[in-house]
């Protein structure tokens, strides 16, 4: 609140000074608990709206489905069954976890668009004038986007039998945190961009400019090995790469996928926990930037 130092240097009598500082301290504690409640309700509102907007839910599944069925089936036939270094995996099987990642990527980033939307339609004002800390807004929004994206990604697991991928309960249990981590990284990235954006159009332009390259370079559509040097660099700079690879490893584990799919960095094969940590750290940094951006604005 920044009022503390002012109160201390202000030329006032001791009694007044104490009462001001006393009130300030109580206010700080009040504001902190209010902020935690605010994180919850901001998150809850996002989910409520997500759940209410069934069409968006259906529409956002259409795109991954289209990719999987048309693009995936087409390329599977063209490439034949032996895709992926004699693993016996078809292209559609290889691509399937990538499409889960794609659903997470798109949902997380479009989820953040609601911030710009709220700003345009005035609701953000109601949140920003509330007696809460600004970080609560960024955190609530990020967690809201994370949850939506995670659900959207996990829904696609029902398609596993269709593409011939075997899943078991353990795989699904392992997948939940991995989907959450990827969703968190990308949702926070979206919130960070949204915190700097003024208009819906601006956000859409920037997102389209970033989202497609992020998707193409993430390893969702092809293995990130034996690529030209410049492309290898770009794929390793893409935060989505570190989130999609572990999902692929876990999803395809039961289908005889070779571990060789694992992402390498400077020639070292990354473990799933390392990849998850990288994604998590990326999300944390993005969220931090978003918090700073929210706090800076008047």
């Amino acid at each position: 609140m920044g009022g503390g130092t002012e109160a201390m240097t202000a030329p006032v009598t001791t009694a007044t000074e104490e009462s001001i500082r006393g009130d300030g301290y109580i206010a700080a504690v009040d504001t902190r608990t209010a902020s935690l409640r605010a994180v919850y309700i901001i998150w809850y509102r996002d989910l409520l709206r997500y759940w209410r907007d069934r069409w968006r839910l259906v529409a956002s599944l259409a795109q991954p489905l289209l990719f999987l069925l048309v693009f995936g089936s087409g390329l599977s036939s063209a490439l034949g069954g032996g895709f992926g270094r004699g693993s016996g995996l078809s292209y559609i099987q290889f691509m399937y976890p990538g499409i889960i990642g794609m659903a997470i990527l798109f949902t997380a980033i479009f989820g953040a668009m609601s911030i710009v939307w709220d700003r345009e339609f005035g609701f953000l004002k109601e949140v920003l004038v509330a007696p809460i800390d600004r970080w609560a807004v960024a955190v609530g929004k990020s967690l809201g986007g994370t949850t939506q994206a995670m659900i959207q990604g996990l829904i696609l697991l029902v398609l596993a039998p269709l593409v011939g991928v075997k899943l078991n309960l353990l795989t699904i249990v392992e997948l939940i945190p991995l989907a959450a981590v990827l969703a968190f990284g990308l949702a926070s990235f979206g919130v960070m961009i949204a915190s700097m954006m003024k208009s819906l159009q601006g956000f859409q332009v920037v997102m389209n400019f970033l989202m497609m390259p992020m998707f193409f370079l993430s390893g969702a559509l092809f293995p990130l090995a034996n690529l030209p040097g410049w492309m290898t660099v770009l794929t390793r700079l893409d935060p989505a790469s570190y989130g999609i690879d572990p999902i692929r490893r876990v999803v395809l584990a039961g289908s005889g996928a070779p571990s060789a799919y694992g992402l390498t960095l400077f020639g070292h094969l990354l473990t799933v926990p390392t990849e998850a940590s990288i994604t998590l750290a990326f999300g944390a940094v993005m969220l931090l930037v978003a918090v700073v951006m929210f706090e800076r604005r008047d």
Binding site: M1, R37, Y40, R49, R119, F123, K125, V129, K198, D298
Partner: protein, 329 residues
Amino acid sequence: MTETVIEARGLVKSYGDIEAVRGIDLEVRAGEIFGFLGPNGAGKSTTISMLCTLLTPTAGSAKVAGIDVVRDPSAVRRRIGLVFQDPSLDDQLTGRENLEFHAFVYGVPAADRRRRIDEMLALLQLSDRAGSLVKTYSGGMKRRLEIARGMLHQPQVLFLDEPTLGLDPQTRQSIWTHLNGLRANRGVTIFMTTHYMDEAEYCDRIAIIDRGQIVALGTPDELKKKVGGDVVVITSSQPDAAAAEIKRMLRVEATRDDGTLRMEVRDGKAFVPRLVRELTAPVETVSMHRPSLDDVFLKLTGHAIREEEASSGDRNRAMARRWAAGRRR
């Protein structure tokens, strides 16, 4: 009930070289309905924003509910309710959900939440539509919901920035009935801005603001007494000639406002026949009325508040605001 709830001393807000608010002093007492009246661009919204801690004053100080707005904005915000000029509801949620969101963010205790929401919905006659999505509400219902929301955390002061802007007269009337009800019922102090003169009549006290300064402050009756006697208005095809004649022959100063001339006279009934008899310039219409706040405003500032001007100004300002907001963010 003479406790001071809002106190401003020498409040100034400038943007670069432009001084939007140029030193405002005022005191608002507990339980009052205080109106801030002035044309658009006079500094009403800027002043209310400073009192609500949304803008930091360039100079001067203000206390709301006994708390300094610069030193502890959060504490001030917990004690005030806000109804903005522009809509700020989530229209994808129901009325009740909007209130629930607010209750959470403002830390209304869980045990009281439901009861208070029900009470406010009933008070503003929204109970039967509480479960409908806000996007199905009329303009007046949305406003009432915003007022209900602003009152939910039991603020000491409810700030409303042009709460009746863009509403039809009937709806405006009902908003006023509700505001009066809230004051009677909850003892809340109401501070509002408006550029509708007729609405200012509902206020206990009014501050008239023009070009960033308060030019008059008092009850509507006190202010009207500043204009003596009756107001006579004539229209003429040669207003300048008529004004000169009136001054020469009747010794009355007429203020020109487009094609109309206004003059304050002690006894209108005796004045009008003389005027008609002695004036050689063509007179098209003559009317006479008791002083209204419009007359007060005209007398104090030398210009009228015109609604049509105001509304186009609003549109421009709304656009400019959106643009400015966009640039800032």
